[in-house]
Amino acid sequence: MRETGSQRIKRGMAQMQKGGVIMDVANVEQARIAEAAGAVAVMALERVPSDIRAAGGVARMSDPAMIEEIMAAVSIPVMAKVRIGHIAEARILESIGVDYIDESEVLTPADDVYHIDKNEYQVPFVCGCRNLGEALRRIAEGASMLRTKGEPGTGDIVEAVRHMQKVNQQIRQIVATKSEHLMDMARELQVPLNLVQEIHEQGKLPVVNFAAGGVSTPADAALMMNLGADGVFVGSGIFKSENPAKFAKAIVTATAHPTDYRLIAEVSKNLGKPMKGIDALSLDQHDKMAPRGQH
């Protein structure tokens, strides 16, 4: 009579977040600032990506007590991250009732071959992608929402732009391909044929796709929305800026009105310094997070 955890329920939850901003928060106080600024959800994690990058070492799921405190403090959905392939961390977060799990390359991967079989869970998952191959493999595993990987914790938008452009370019390519050649596309992308056929017919992904990894200013958010993002994740960009509450509000406004440039100009005035950031192209290959979990 009542069905929970269906694909429609899990994907639908992400559809309700469209046009919104999901903010990384490290404690209750930050979660309240995010909610007051108009975030559609918060991502609870002990260290934002730029701190994870600076600290080095192994990055793991956050303390469940800290996640529960945030769940109790705000009325908006609470997401949390697990390591790629770490089914136990995922079951733990599901058991405490987080609203969405991010199987994230920001944490140190637990399995360098397999992602979590996300179809087996009641809780929905979001995963990162750099191209359509990664996107469709994650959907086949049961991801209900996608995001670009960007290069987390850098404050540099270039990788998120690259990933969003790449996915959309490959979608256009599939739409233009003759249906009898879709098998070749599926083989090339290393993804199931039925998903390639679905893209060919619908002209779009079957789940929402947010921008993530490097969004630091209202203008960055507007850029990603104009490139076709359904919404925006902001990791370090808010609480590593000079004035988090103002940055948060301004990014929410820019995401909701991405082509109203006078308005974005207005909310961008006197914001103070954004996060300092790192030029993503200057990173050594082994310092990059985005290539993690590409299979």
Binding site: M1, T4, M13, T253
Partner: protein, 188 residues
């Protein structure tokens, strides 16, 4: 006939598609000027706290409230129900709303619902959904869950559902809104 979809945040394109399937013109509403010449408005699902802040930021909260009070037909789904019921938001329906009334996402569910005015069970999709704890004397209850929670109602020009008809493949709630609220209003 032209119906607006409040397009600040949430499931906007889903409502847009469903209204287009019903054969009406659709206007996305992002600001006060988009409200001119509308025969009705849909307030979609999304995060009600976010949409409320964006309504205030766009100076639309009081304008919209006045238009609804003056009789503009409105359909609110999920977050739309919350905003239409809250006193400090749009206050278009007399009732007490329980936000996230069925629990967190893990408790979100699908259930077939009997709706007054429809001849078939409607596939209700409830996502962190609210319900109406109580409703005032002028409110007609259109549907309840099997555990007796009020999840669809109408008060004159305002129709609300706690579930998401825009996520289903069934456009009959939208048709009900068009025939009962919008057309009646046009005749008056």
């Amino acid at each position: 006939m032209k119906i607006g979809v409040l397009a600040l945040q949430g499931a906007v394109s889903e409502h847009e598609q469903m209204l287009a399937d019903c054969g009406v013109d659709v206007q996305l509403v992002k600001g006060v000027t988009d409200l001119i010449d509308l025969d009705g408005l849909v307030i979609p699902g999304g995060e009600s706290t976010t949409i409320k802040k964006l309504l205030a930021k766009a100076s639309m909260l009081s304008v919209l409230k006045d238009k609804i009070l003056a009789g503009m037909p409105v359909l609110g789904t999920c977050a739309g129900l919350v905003l239409l019921t809250q006193d400090d938001a749009l206050n278009g329906l007399d009732g007490q709303v329980q936000r996230n009334g069925f629990g967190r996402q893990i408790d979100s569910f699908e259930e077939n619902i009997t709706i007054t005015g429809l001849d078939h069970p409607f596939p209700g999709i409830f996502i962190r959904a609210p319900y109406l704890e109580t409703v005032g004397p002028e409110v007609e209850i259109l549907g309840k869950t099997f555990d007796n929670r009020i999840i669809a109602a109408r008060q004159k020009n305002v129709m609300v559902t706690a579930f998401h008809p825009e996520l289903s493949e069934d456009s009959s709630i939208h048709e009900l809104f068009i025939t009962q609220c919008v057309n009646e209003n046009k005749m008056n």
